[in-house]
C-alpha cells in the first residue's frame, strides 16, 4: 500500500541522473568551473517518502585530493587497497608496492608521511606481499592482512613479530584453497575477524592466541522455489551453469566504537534487495546475527533506482563502510562512485558522488574511513585519497543529530530548522523537528511535522499523548455529552410512555365520546 514504485518514477530518476552526467561533462570542459564541480545539480541527493530523488545541497565538499605527489612519496602508490584510521593516524595499505603508509593528519592541511612500513621483524618472509588491510588493537598491537603470503600477522607496536593467523582449520574448507585474507578487524580482546577470498561461510574468527574458533555472520542463503524446481530437471552440466545457492562473501568490514561489526557486500541481486531477501550491509553482533535497524522507508542498499544510465547498471556495489560515533554509517558504492550515509534508524542522510576525473569524483573507490565527521575515500585506480569535509548544511545536520542524542532537544530542533531553511526537501529535518517537539511535549505541533513527512510511528506517539491530554482537559464535557446521549433518549422514551399512559388511561375515556366515535364509524 505504501511502497510504490512505478516505471515512470524510475524513468524520471534515470533522466535526472542522465541530465546530471551531461551537465558534468559540459562543465568539465572549462577549467575555471572545475572547482565548483561538486556544487552542480544532482551531485548530492536524498530520497523522499515516495522514493523520489530530491536534489539536496551538498553535505560534503572535497577538501583535498591526496596523490602520491602531494604526500611527497618517492615511489608512487600502486593499487592501494586498504584504509585504516587509528586516532589521527591514517594507515594506507599500498598493496601494489607491498608496503603500508602511516600518515599523520594535520587538520585541513596535507598529512605528513610518518613511516613507510615495508616489513616486520622476526619472521620469514619478513616483507609483505600484497597487504590488503591493517588494524591496531587497543593495546597497540598491530595486525596486518598479508594476502600474498596467506597469513595475518600480529606484531607489537615496533613491528616485532608476535604470531600469525593461518588458514582456518575447518573440515568443510577445500584443502586446495589458498588462504587469502582481504579485510580484518580486531576487537578489544584482540580477537581477529577476517574476510578471506573464496570463503563464504561468513567471517573467520580467531581467538587472541591465534586459534581459529569458527565462522560467524554468514549471509542468509536465499533461493527461488522456481529455480529449485528447474534445478531438479536440469542436467549436471546445466546445473553447473546455474548460480548455486551459497551465501555471498562480504566485501569489507568495519568495527564500530561499540564493537559491532558492520559488514558490506556488493554481490547482491537487484530483485533480492528490493524484496528484502538480501542485505548490502549488516551489523553483526557477537552471536553473528544481523542487528542493523531498518526503519527507513527504503532499503539500505544505496541507489533504489537502478536504471541503466551513463554506462552504469545494477544495484550499488558497497565496497566499504565506516561508522561515525553517532552511529551514522557511510557506505561506499564502487559502481556509481557514490557515498551513502544512513542514520542509526536506517534513514538515508545523504547520497552524493559520481564517477569521473574531477575532485569529488571517483574511478574505483575501494575504501572509506572517517576522522570525526570528515571522510577519507581511497581510490585504487587514481591512487589517491579524497578528503571530504562537511559543508555548513552537513555540519548543521550532524549538530542536530548529535544535540538530539545528547538530550538537548530544543537546540536540536533549532538546528533542524536551520537545515530546513537550507533544504526544504529534507525529510529527516521535518521528522527531526517533530521528534524535538515531541520531547518538549508540544504534541499538536509535532503531529503536524510528522504528518507532512508521513512518519506514522512518531505521529502515533504524539497523537496518543495529544489525545490523552485532550481527554483529560475536556473530561467534564465528555461526561456531560455521554450522559446526555444516554439520558435524553431515555427521558424522551419515559415522557412518551407517560403521555401514552395518560391518553389511554381508563378514567379519561368518557362514555359519551366513545359512543360518539362508534357512531361515526
Amino acid at each position: 500500500m505504501k511502497k510504490r514504485m512505478s516505471d515512470n518514477l524510475i524513468r524520471r530518476a534515470a533522466a535526472l541522473i542522465g541530465a546530471g552526467l551531461m551537465a558534468a561533462s559540459l562543465f568539465a570542459g572549462t577549467a575555471e568551473t572545475a572547482r565548483a564541480a561538486t556544487h552542480q545539480f544532482g551531485y548530492t541527493y536524498n530520497l523522499d517518502y515516495w522514493g523520489d530523488v530530491q536534489n539536496s545541497p551538498d553535505l560534503y565538499t572535497p577538501c583535498m585530493v591526496l596523490t602520491s605527489a602531494d604526500l611527497g612519496l618517492e615511489v608512487k602508490m600502486n593499487a592501494p587497497q586498504g584504509l585504516t584510521m587509528v586516532g589521527d593516524h591514517l594507515y594506507v595499505c599500498d598493496s601494489g608496492n607491498n608496503r603500508i603508509l602511516d600518515l599523520q593528519l594535520n587538520g585541513t592541511g596535507i598529512p605528513t608521511v610518518e613511516r613507510i612500513i615495508e616489513g616486520v621483524k622476526g619472521v620469514e618472509p619478513a616483507t609483505f606481499s600484497n597487504p590488503t588491510d591493517f588494524a591496531i588493537s587497543e593495546d597497540g598491537n598491530i595486525f596486518i592482512a598479508d594476502q600474498g603470503n596467506a597469513r595475518i600477522l600480529k606484531t607489537d607496536p615496533d613491528f616485532n613479530f608476535i604470531l600469525q593467523f593461518d588458514k582456518p582449520t575447518d573440515q568443510a574448507l577445500d584443502p586446495k584453497l589458498v588462504f587469502a585474507p582481504t579485510k580484518i578487524v580486531v576487537d578489544t580482546a584482540e580477537r581477529v575477524y577476517c574476510i578471506a577470498a573464496g570463503i563464504n561461510k561468513g567471517l573467520c574468527k580467531y581467538e587472541a592466541d591465534g586459534t581459529f574458533s569458527g565462522f560467524i555472520g554468514a549471509t542468509k542463503v536465499t533461493f527461488d522455489f522456481l529455480d529449485y524446481i528447474w534445478k531438479k530437471f536440469a542436467t549436471q552440466a546445466q546445473r553447473a551453469q546455474m548460480e548455486s545457492f551459497v551465501p555471498t562473501e562480504y566485501d569489507n568490514i568495519y568495527m564500530d566504537h561499540e564493537g559491532f561489526i558492520y559488514a558490506c557486500t556488493g554481490a547482491v541481486d537487484r530483485e533480492e534487495l528490493r524484496n528484502d531477501k538480501a542485505d548490502a550491509v549488516r551489523k553483526i553482533n557477537l552471536m553473528g546475527n544481523d542487528i542493523l535497524v531498518r526503519n527507513g522507508e527504503w532499503g539500505i542498499y544505496g541507489d533504489i533506482h537502478m536504471g541503466n544510465a551513463g554506462g552504469y547498471e545494477g544495484p550499488s556495489y558497497f565496497s566499504d563502510v565506516t561508522v561515525f560515533d553517532n552511529d551514522i554509517f557511510v557506505c561506499l558504492d564502487r559502481n556509481r562512485g557514490r557515498l551513502f550515509g544512513y542514520d542509526d534508524q536506517g534513514h538515508m542522510v545523504f547520497a552524493f558522488g559520481s564517477n569521473g576525473n574531477m575532485d569529488g569524483y571517483f574511478r574505483r573507490p575501494v575504501a572509506i574511513e572517517h576522522y570525526d565527521h570528515d571522510l577519507y575515500v581511497l581510490d585504487t585506480l587514481d591512487c589517491a585519497i579524497t578528503v571530504f569535509i562537511p559543508t555548513k548544511f552537513g555540519a548543521t545536520v550532524y549538530r542536530a543529530i548529535d544535540e538530539f542524542d545528547a538530550g538537548n532537544y530544543v537546540t536540536s530542533g533549532e538546528s533542524w530548522q536551520e537545515a530546513i531553511d537550507m533544504n526544504g526537501n529534507y525529510d529527516l529535518a521535518y521528522i527531526g523537528i517533530g521528534r524535538s517537539l515531541l520531547r518538549q511535549e508540544r504534541y499538536a505541533e509535532a503531529m503536524r511535522y510528522f504528518e507532512v513527512k508521513y512518519d506514522d510511528e512518531n505521529y502515533s506517539k504524539a497523537f496518543k499523548q495529544f489525545r490523552k491530554e485532550w481527554v483529560e482537559s475536556n473530561i467534564v464535557i465528555i461526561v456531560i455529552v455521554l450522559l446526555a446521549l444516554f439520558l435524553i433518549p431515555l427521558g424522551i422514551g419515559r415522557f412518551r410512555k407517560i403521555r401514552h399512559d395518560i391518553d389511554t388511561a381508563d378514567i379519561f375515556i368518557v362514555e359519551g365520546s366513545a359512543a360518539n366515535s362508534s357512531k361515526e364509524q
Binding site: M1, K2, R4, S6, N8, Y49, W50, E451, Y454, D456, E457, Y459, S460, K461, F463, K464, R467
Partner: protein, 222 residues
C-alpha cells in the same frame, strides 16, 4: 417542458417511492435473502435508489482518499487520476453486470439486465455505510490500534461481496450451489470480456494504422 419537469420534481408520490426504495436497501443489508427477493419480485427497489447507492459508493471512495488518516492510506497525489479512480469501480461493475446477465439469461436466470444492475448496486451499500464512520474513526487512532481499522475495512468489502452473491441468487431464483457456480462463471465471463475488448482495441488500432500508413505512403509518392 418546464411544466413536466416541475411536475416530476415535485411529484410527492415518486419521491416517496424513491425514499422507500432507498430505505429498503438497509433492509436488504440486514436481511439479504428476504430483501433481495422482494427487491424484484415485490418491486421494492428502484433504479434511482441503485444509482444513488452507486454514487454514494464512488463518492465515499474518493472521500476516503482525502480524509483517511495518512497512517492507513497515503496518496501519491501527483499520479492520481480521479477519472481512472472512478472507472476502477464503474468498469468492473459494468463487466460484472454484463457478464452475469450474459450467462444467466442462457441458464434460466429470471433477472433482467436492469435488475442485475439494481441488485448489485444495492449490494454495495455496506461500503459507504461502513467506510464513512471508519474514515472518521481513522483520524482518532494510533498505529497500534490500527488493526480495528484494517479489519473493519476488509469486513466492509467481504460484506459487499456476500450481499452481491446473495442478491444474484435471489433475483435469478437460483439455489445456493448454482448461484456460487454462476458467480465464478461470471468472473470468468468478465475475463473473457476484457480479452475481447483488448483484441477489439488492438484490431481497431491496427486497422486505423493501416489506413494512416496508406495515406502517408500515398502522400509521400505524390
Amino acid at each position: 417542458m418546464a411544466d413536466t419537469l416541475s411536475v416530476k420534481l415535485f411529484n410527492k408520490q415518486a419521491w416517496g417511492k424513491y425514499g422507500d426504495s432507498l430505505k429498503f436497501a438497509f433492509y436488504c443489508m440486514t436481511h439479504p435473502l428476504d430483501g433481495f427477493w422482494d427487491l424484484t419480485h415485490e418491486k421494492r427497489g428502484t433504479i434511482a435508489a441503485a444509482n444513488t447507492i452507486l454514487i454514494a459508493t464512488i463518492f465515499m471512495r474518493l472521500m476516503k482518499l482525502r480524509y483517511t488518516s495518512f497512517i492507513f492510506l497515503t496518496v501519491y497525489w501527483e499520479e492520481l487520476n480521479i477519472f481512472l479512480y472512478i472507472a476502477s469501480i464503474l468498469f468492473p461493475l459494468a463487466l460484472w453486470v454484463l457478464g452475469n446477465w450474459g450467462l444467466t439469461t442462457l441458464f434460466d436466470g429470471k433477472g433482467k439486465l436492469s435488475q442485475i444492475y439494481m441488485a448489485t448496486c444495492y449490494g454495495m451499500l455496506p461500503y459507504p455505510v461502513i467506510q464513512l464512520p471508519l474514515t472518521v474513526f481513522s483520524n482518532f487512532v494510533t498505529v497500534e490500534e490500527g488493526q480495528f481499522y484494517s479489519v473493519l475495512s476488509v469486513i466492509s468489502l467481504i460484506y459487499c461481496g456476500l450481499l452481491i452473491i446473495a442478491a444474484m441468487g435471489q433475483i435469478h431464483e437460483y439455489g445456493a450451489g448454482k448461484n456460487l457456480l454462476f458467480t465464478v462463471a461470471s468472473l470468468f465471463a468478465m475475463l473473457v470480456i476484457i480479452f475481447i475488448l483488448m483484441i477489439f482495441f488492438s484490431m481497431i488500432s491496427q486497422g486505423v494504422m493501416y489506413f494512416i500508413s496508406l495515406v502517408r505512403e500515398f502522400l509521400f509518392r505524390l
